[in-house]
C-alpha cells in the first residue's frame, strides 16, 4: 500500500460522505417540491431563487434550536442513538460502484470505494445493524409513545428484512456473484428488472418498510404515536435522525439501481467512463421520485395489516420467486439459453396469482362485514 493510494482512499471516502450529506439536504428540498406539485401547491420558494437555499435555512434553524434531554432519559444511549442511526446509513454505500475507472492526474482512479466479494452480504449485515439506532432512540427517551415506535420499528424491520434478503438472492443468482461490480457487469445486455420484475417489486416494497417511509412509517405514525421514536428529540439530534432517514433513502435507491437497474451502465459508458456517475445519479433521482410519489399517494396501512402483509404475502411470494429464478437458470443452462425467459413469465404469473388472492381475501372480509 503506497502513500498515494491511502490519500486516494481518504479522498474517495470523504467525497462519498459529502455527497450523501449534501444529497440529504437537497433530497428534502426535492421531496417538498415534488410533494407540493402533486398536491397543487408551490412549495418552498422564499429562500434563494426557486427555494434552493431552503436546506441551508433549515440547517441554521436546527443548529440554533434548544436541545432538550428528558430528565428520566438514559443520557448515554439518548445521545448515542442518533449517531448509531446515521453511521450505517453512511457506510452502507461503500460497496456501491459509481463507475468503472477513469484517468485523473496521471493515475487510474476506480470509481468505487470497496470492491469486496461479499458485497451484497455486506449490505445485508449493515442493514440489519441499522435497526439498533431506532430501537435505542425509542427506549432511551423513557416515553411510552417513543417506546412503542421503537418496538414497532424492530418488529417491522426484521420482518421485511427476510423479503429484502430473498430479493437480493434472485439478483445474486442471475449474476452468479455477490460482488457488486460483477452484478453490474452481468446486466450489460439486459437489466435484471426485465428478467425478474416481481423480485424488483418485492425489493422496492421491502425497502420502503426498511427505511420507514410512508405507507410503512409505523414507527413515527403522527396520529397514533405523536411522532414515534423521535418524539423527545430536538435540535441537531433530531436533524441527525432525519438525516439518517434520507441518507437511507439515497443508499437504498443506489443499491436498487445497482442490483436491478443496471447500475452505472448506460449508452457509451465503455468509451466515456465518466458517464457512469451521471447515469447512476439519473437512476437515483428517478427511483427517489418513485418513493416520494408513493408517499404522496398511499395512506399509512394499519400495523397488524403491515405485519400480515410482510409475513403472509411478501415472504411466501419472495420464496416462490427464488425458486422460480433458480429453476429458470437451471433450465437455461441445461436445455436452451432462451428458456431464461421462463423466469419473468413464471414470476409475473406468481405475482398476478398473489394479487388475485389478496383481492379475494379483501372481498371476503368486506362480505363478512356487510
Amino acid at each position: 500500500m503506497t502513500f498515494a493510494l491511502l490519500i486516494e482512499w481518504l479522498i474517495k471516502g470523504f467525497v462519498l460522505v459529502l455527497v450523501l450529506l449534501g444529497g440529504f439536504a437537497y433530497l428534502t428540498l426535492y421531496e417538498r417540491k415534488a410533494l407540493a406539485r402533486i398536491q397543487v401547491r408551490i412549495g418552498p420558494n422564499r429562500a434563494g431563487p426557486w427555494g434552493i437555499l431552503q436546506p441551508i435555512a433549515d440547517a441554521i434553524k436546527l443548529i440554533f434550536k434548544e436541545e432538550l434531554i428528558p430528565a428520566k432519559a438514559d443520557k448515554l444511549l439518548f445521545i448515542l442513538a442518533p449517531v448509531v442511526t446515521l453511521v450505517p446509513a453512511l457506510v452502507i454505500t461503500a460497496v456501491v460502484p459509481w463507475g468503472s475507472e477513469i484517468m485523473m492526474f496521471g493515475r487510474v482512479i476506480t470509481l468505487y470505494i470497496a470492491d469486496i466479494n461479499v458485497g451484497v452480504l455486506y449490505i445485508m449485515s449493515v442493514a440489519s445493524i441499522a435497526v439498533y439506532g431506532v430501537v435505542l432512540a425509542g427506549w432511551s427517551s423513557n416515553n411510552k409513545y417513543a417506546m412503542m415506535g421503537g418496538l414497532r420499528s424492530s418488529a417491522q424491520m426484521i420482518s421485511y428484512e427476510m423479503s429484502l434478503g430473498l430479493a437480493f438472492i434472485s439478483a445474486i443468482m442471475l449474476a452468479g456473484s455477490m460482488r457488486m461490480l460483477d452484478i453490474v457487469e452481468a446486466q450489460r445486455t439486459l437489466w435484471f428488472v426485465l428478467l425478474q420484475p416481481v423480485g424488483t417489486a418485492i425489493f422496492l416494497i421491502a425497502t420502503l418498510a426498511e427505511v420507514n417511509r410512508p405507507p410503512f412509517d409505523m414507527p413515527e405514525a403522527e396520529q397514533e404515536l405523536t411522532a414515534g421514536y423521535h418524539v423527545e428529540y430536538s435540535g441537531m439530534k433530531f436533524a441527525l435522525l432525519f438525516m439518517a432517514e434520507y441518507d437511507k433513502m439515497i443508499a437504498i435507491s443506489a443499491i436498487g439501481a445497482t442490483l436491478f437497474f443496471g447500475g452505472f451502465r448506460g449508452p457509451f459508458v465503455d468509451t466515456y467512463p465518466w458517464l457512469g456517475p451521471i447515469y447512476m445519479l439519473l437512476k437515483l433521482v428517478i427511483l427517489l421520485f418513485g418513493m416520494i410519489w408513493v408517499r404522496a399517494t398511499f395512506p399509512r396501512i394499519r400495523y397488524d395489516r403491515l405485519m400480515a402483509f410482510g409475513w403472509k404475502v411478501m415472504l411466501p411470494l419472495s420464496l416462490a420467486i427464488v425458486f422460480i429464478t433458480a429453476a429458470g437458470i437451471l433450465l437455461a443452462e441445461q436445455v436452451n439459453p432462451l428458456l431464461i425467459w421462463t423466469v419473468p413469465a413464471l414470476s409475473l404469473l406468481a405475482g398476478v396469482f398473489t394479487i388475485a388472492m389478496i383481492d379475494r381475501e379483501l372481498r371476503r372480509k368486506e362480505y363478512a362485514r356487510a
Binding site: L121, V135, W139, L151, E161
Partner: protein
C-alpha cells in the same frame, strides 16, 4: 510486531472487556448491547482469518437479527432492571468453580500444544482467494448437503411448532 498482531491484541482486549461488561452490567439493555459489541469484534476476528462470509453472516444473524429480538423481548416485558441481590445464592460459587475447571483445561491444552505451531501460520491463505465464496458454497452444497438440508428441516419444524402453539383454538375468544 506487525500490524495484524497489534490489531489482534486491541480487538482481543475489546472482546474480553465487552464480555465482562455484559456479565457485570445490572441493566439488561446494556448487557444486550455489550453482547452486540462482542459479536461485532468476533466478526472482525473472522475477517482477519480470511473468512468474509462467516464474518458477514455473524453480523447479520447474531448482531443483527437475534440481538434485536432479544432487545425487543427485554423492552416488551419491561425487564430492563435486574433485581438487587442473588435469586439463586448457590449459583455464584458453583459457576466460579466450573469456570476455574474450564480455564485449567484450556490452559493445559494450550501449553501442551504450544510447541506445535504448524497450521496456524497463515490460516486464511486458501479461503482468502477471490473464489472463497464459490469454494465454500461448493463444499456446503456437495459435501455437507445432508446436514444442510436436515438443519433447514429442523428450522421449518420449529417454525411450524411456534405457529401451532400461538394459534388460537376454535371456540377460544
Amino acid at each position: 510486531m506487525d500490524l495484524t498482531l497489534i490489531l489482534f491484541i486491541v480487538l482481543a482486549v475489546v472482546a474480553i472487556l465487552t464480555a465482562l461488561g455484559m456479565l457485570a452490567s445490572r441493566s439488561a439493555i446494556y448487557a444486550a448491547l455489550f453482547l452486540v459489541l462482542n459479536f461485532a469484534t468476533v466478526a472482525i476476528f473472522y475477517l482477519m482469518l480470511g473468512a468474509p462470509f462467516i464474518a458477514m453472516a455473524q453480523v447479520t444473524v447474531y448482531a443483527g437479527a437475534i440481538m434485536v429480538l432479544f432487545l425487543f423481548v427485554i423492552m416488551l416485558l419491561g425487564a430492563e432492571k435486574l433485581p438487587k441481590g442473588e435469586v439463586l445464592p448457590w449459583q455464584r460459587p458453583l459457576a466460579i468453580g466450573l469456570a476455574a475447571v474450564l480455564l485449567a483445561e484450556a490452559g493445559y491444552l494450550l501449553f501442551q500444544r504450544l510447541h506445535i505451531t504448524a497450521g496456524l501460520a497463515n490460516p486464511g491463505a486458501e479461503v482468502n482467494a477471490p473464489e472463497a465464496i464459490q469454494a465454500m458454497a461448493l463444499s456446503l452444497f456437495n459435501q455437507y448437503l445432508l446436514p444442510f438440508e436436515v438443519t433447514s428441516v429442523l428450522l421449518l419444524v420449529a417454525m411450524v411448532g411456534v405457529i401451532v402453539l400461538t394459534k388460537k383454538e376454535k371456540g377460544e375468544s
